[in-house]
């Protein structure tokens, strides 16, 4: 009997997208930049020349000197080490937000798209969630729970969920009309199995794209929240916190904001470029036009 491979199908578009020659030069550079940023921040514990929290009153607001490649801040802390360590938390918050909002959005969106009765109720709730500005929500959560990484992730995730829900619902609404889904109903396939095996794979491609955009915007929102003092506690270095502190001495020493700002911008730019590349790769219409 013929050997039948397991359906690896949900991963197929991803695997196709990873075949490098299909990417343009811009996205290759973006991938390289992002890889460098991620590796540097992941290895920050070993690379960073100084403890990012150790103050040195003798060496405040120094320019690039021996041992401090990017200089020091107003407490004499090493800027290079702070930017590296700060990136860790920024990336963690970004990735956590993207993963949580995509997963929750997927589940809620599937339910809204597949069960007619739930649709109207869920979508009105999503409309309400969408009306909450993440910055106000963050301030409220921080006021309630105190500044913490969890509050920040929740504050950024909640307004992102409706966007994912809408996307998934739209995909499911069109996919459930496909004759192969109706054939599955006729074959007696339980609803749960139809959802997981027939409908979820259709959402993979758009969710990968949406996920990268959420990742980028979450990193940015985290920086904004920290900058406004509504983010993680001010002692913890994140890109936003470093910039918030640097604001005071911005006129004397613009590097305090410049370096974390460059890291943040490069990171977001490259994620967005990769998201665009993924969209081009996974969207059959754009692919056809290119080919």
């Amino acid at each position: 009997m013929a050997q039948v491979p397991q359906p690896t199908s949900a991963m197929q578009p991803v695997l196709r997208a990873l075949r490098l020659p299909q990417f343009g030069l811009g996205s290759k550079i973006a991938a390289l930049v992002l890889a460098i940023i991620v590796v540097l921040t992941l290895l920050a514990g070993w690379i960073a020349p100084h403890d990012p929290l150790t103050m040195n009153p003798m060496a405040r607001l120094q320019g690039p000197i021996e041992g401090h490649p990017l200089g020091t801040d107003n407490f004499g802390r090493d800027i290079f080490s702070r930017v590296l360590i700060g990136g860790q938390l920024s990336l963690i918050i970004g990735i956590a937000t993207a993963v949580v909002s995509v997963l929750l959005g997927l589940i809620i969106g599937m339910i809204a798209g597949f069960f007619r009765t739930a649709d109207a109720i869920i979508m009105r709730m999503m409309d309400a969630l969408m009306a909450i500005p993440s910055i106000l929500l963050a301030i409220a959560l921080v006021a309630l729970n105190g500044p913490s990484v969890g509050s920040v992730i929740a504050a950024i995730t909640i307004p992102e969920i409706p966007r994912v829900v809408r996307l998934v619902r739209a995909v499911v609404l069109s996919a459930r009309e496909e004759p192969y889904v109706e054939a599955a109903i006729a074959l007696g396939t339980p609803m749960r199995k139809i959802l997981v095996r027939h409908l979820v794979p259709n959402t993979t491609a758009p969710l990968i794209v949406q996920g990268t955009y959420i990742l980028a915007s979450a990193i940015l929102t985290e920086a904004i929240l920290s900058f406004l003092g509504a983010g993680v506690s001010t002692e913890t270095p994140t890109w936003g916190n470093i910039m918030a502190e640097g604001r005071l001495f911005f006129r004397i020493k613009p590097e305090l904001i410049l370096y974390p700002g460059i890291a943040l911008s490069l990171c977001i730019l490259s994620i967005n470029l990769l998201g665009d590349a993924a969209r081009d790769m996974l969207d059959p219409r754009l692919k056809k036009r290119a080919g």
Binding site: M1, A2, Q3, V4, P5, P7, S9, A10, Q12, E178, P179, Y180, E182, A183, A184, I185, A186, L187, G188, T189, P190, M191, K193, H198, P201
Partner: protein
């Protein structure tokens, strides 16, 4: 008179394509899409290009219009319109010619018209682009041409948007747009394929009438031999980018020379009904007073209701086929979907082996599901593109507790039955043709050993030769397994081929119900008679290359 017998040898040549070759330059091997074809069209003549999908008929028309997609390229030959070579012309020069000298109408008038402009303005726009007539003159001409295409209430339709018109009216608007500048050549690419037969008949008559009045040459592209018999003067038969045969319509239908033409003609299902099989008394499916009403259930206000199925009643015994025939909107698919319980009927009973499944809940329905299977129209979408054929085939049996190994063995066996290699199980749907996929969809249904198979326009998307094979397959499975088939179709020829009994539906109601032989040969209801009379080429027996024996028309009792 059966065919047009006009002779055009003395008429002026309007269009002449010589040695036309079109290739796909970017594809490895540079495959030819058109292989040095010759087509000549004379003034006032109707030339039919006929062939199955992929034969290159549409590419021919696009090449003439200068509208080939970028991937295609004319590699050789000439196209001359009234002696002027079209191929060296620039885009701007071609644009001048289009509409003014060569016009085109398409299969789907809804997508060919701009949905946000009034149709009258769209007709006027054609004149604005190609002539320097004043607004009042353009309007007068637009109204005149709309009257010529027999649109009712021209003033109202002039101000209508495309979605406010019926399919036939939209196609009339397209024809009006195409003819308003009096082109010398009209290219019609399957213009009636998306229309119901009765509308098709009217549009064909309209094209014929306008052609006679204006002396336009018509290049008519179709896959339907019936339409060819109705309208063609000259026929070109295409296959794989080559013209295998051409000639006057009667000669070609009476004495086809090429084997391919013979095969194509023999595949056209005959309108004379099959011999009915004996009716058993063990009805496996009984439908009693089935009703389906859509809409009406608004929370805040009463929505308009649509009564899509009215008191539909029939019964079907093992090994027999019941055809449900009707035009679009007649409710035939609604009945099929109610029987399948893909939608819930509003009232009525559906007795499957004497168990009423009309009101069962989803979970209570599950044990009955396997007795009732379905094959859909579109073979491209009825299989999950991400699953191997094997996975698709064993989905049903796994749901009912068959082990994977047993189900796979059965799937491999069925692949043989439906005429596909066993290694097909490991492949994906996109690696198969439409006809092969439809066989796979049938195999998937048969995996469940159903008592009743609902085939919803199951062969309508297939070419005639493939259609014949799939119908044979259904017939064979029915004989081997004794399945009862509910066959939904708009095509009377197909219905005549496989149905023992026929139900004719119109606007949700059954207007005629009886043995296929009786309903199709001696229709009692005026609507049935109208349907049969509209079937193109009904007076020609394609399979035997001769006229049909005298059509019997019984008077209604």
């Amino acid at each position: 008179m059966l065919f047009k017998t006009r002779n055009f040898d003395t008429a002026d040549v309007v269009l002449q394509a010589c040695d036309l070759t079109v290739t796909l330059p970017d594809t490895p091997g540079n495959p030819g899409v058109l292989k040095s074809i010759d087509v000549t069209i004379r003034a006032g003549e109707t030339v039919c290009l006929v062939g199955e999908s992929g034969s290159g008929k549409s590419v021919t028309s696009l090449a003439i219009m200068g509208l080939l997609p970028q991937a295609l390229q004319v590699a050789g030959g000439t196209i001359q319109l009234q002696g002027r070579d079209l191929l060296p012309l620039t885009q701007a020069q071609m644009r001048e010619l289009r509409a003014a000298r060569v016009a085109m109408i398409f299969q789907e008038p809804m997508t060919a018209l701009n949905p946000v402009l009034r149709v009258g303005d769209q007709i006027m726009e054609v004149m604005e682009l190609h002539t320097d007539m004043g607004t009042a003159e353009r309007r007068r001409r637009a109204v005149a041409i709309m009257e010529q295409v027999h649109l009712p209430d021209v003033e109202r339709i002039f101000k209508s948007y495309p979605h406010q018109l019926s399919g036939g009216q939209r196609q009339r608007i397209m024809i009006a747009m195409a003819l308003v500048l009096e082109p010398v050549l009209l290219i019609a690419d399957e213009p009636t394929t998306a229309l119901d037969v009765t509308t098709q008949k009217q549009i064909l008559a309209l094209i014929d009438e306008l052609q006679r009045d204006h002396g336009t040459a018509v290049l008519f592209i179709t896959h339907d031999m019936g339409v060819v018999a109705e309208i063609a003067d000259t026929v070109y038969v295409m296959k794989h980018g080559e013209i295998v045969e051409h000639g006057a319509v009667e000669t070609l239908l009476r004495e086809p020379r090429a084997d391919y033409t013979r095969k194509l003609l023999q595949a056209v299902p005959s309108l004379s009904p099959r011999d009915a099989r004996p009716a058993g008394d063990d009805a496996v499916l009984r439908v009693e007073r089935l009703n389906k009403i859509y809409g009406g259930g608004g929370i805040l206000r009463k929505l308009p209701q649509a009564h899509a199925a009215k008191d539909v009643t029939f019964s079907l015994s093992r090994g027999r086929t019941l055809g449900i025939v009707g035009e679009s909107g007649s409710g035939k698919s609604t009945v099929a979907r109610c029987i399948m319980r893909l939608i819930d009927p509003t009232s009525g009973r559906i007795l499957l082996d004497d168990a009423d499944i009309a009101t069962l809940s989803r979970s209570a329905l599950r044990p009955h599901r396997r007795k009732l299977q379905v094959v859909f129209q579109d073979p491209m979408r009825s299989l999950n593109p991400r699953w191997t054929i094997g996975e698709s085939l064993i989905e049903g049996p796994l749901n009912y507790g068959t082990t994977r190994a047993d189900a796979m063995a059965e799937a491999a066996r069925l692949m043989g039955v439906v005429g596909l290699p066993a290694d097909a199980l490991a492949r994906y749907p996109h690696q198969f043709s439409g006809g092969q996929r439809q066989r796979i969809a049938i195999a998937r249904a048969v995996m469940m050993r159903p008592d009743v198979l609902v085939a919803d326009e199951a062969v309508s998307a297939l070419d005639v030769s493939v259609q014949a094979q799939v119908l044979d397959l259904l017939d064979q499975l029915q004989r081997d397994l004794g399945i009862a088939i509910v066959f939904i179709t708009h095509d009377l020829r197909v219905a005549a081929q496989i149905c023992d009994e026929v139900i004719v539906m119109q606007r949700g109601a059954v207007v005629e119900h009886g043995p296929a032989g009786q309903v199709l040969a001696a229709p009692a209801h005026p609507y049935t008679r109208a349907l049969i009379e509209a079937a193109p080429g009904r007076s020609w027996d394609f399979q035997n290359f001769r006229a049909m024996p005298e059509v019997r028309h019984a008077e209604p009792a």
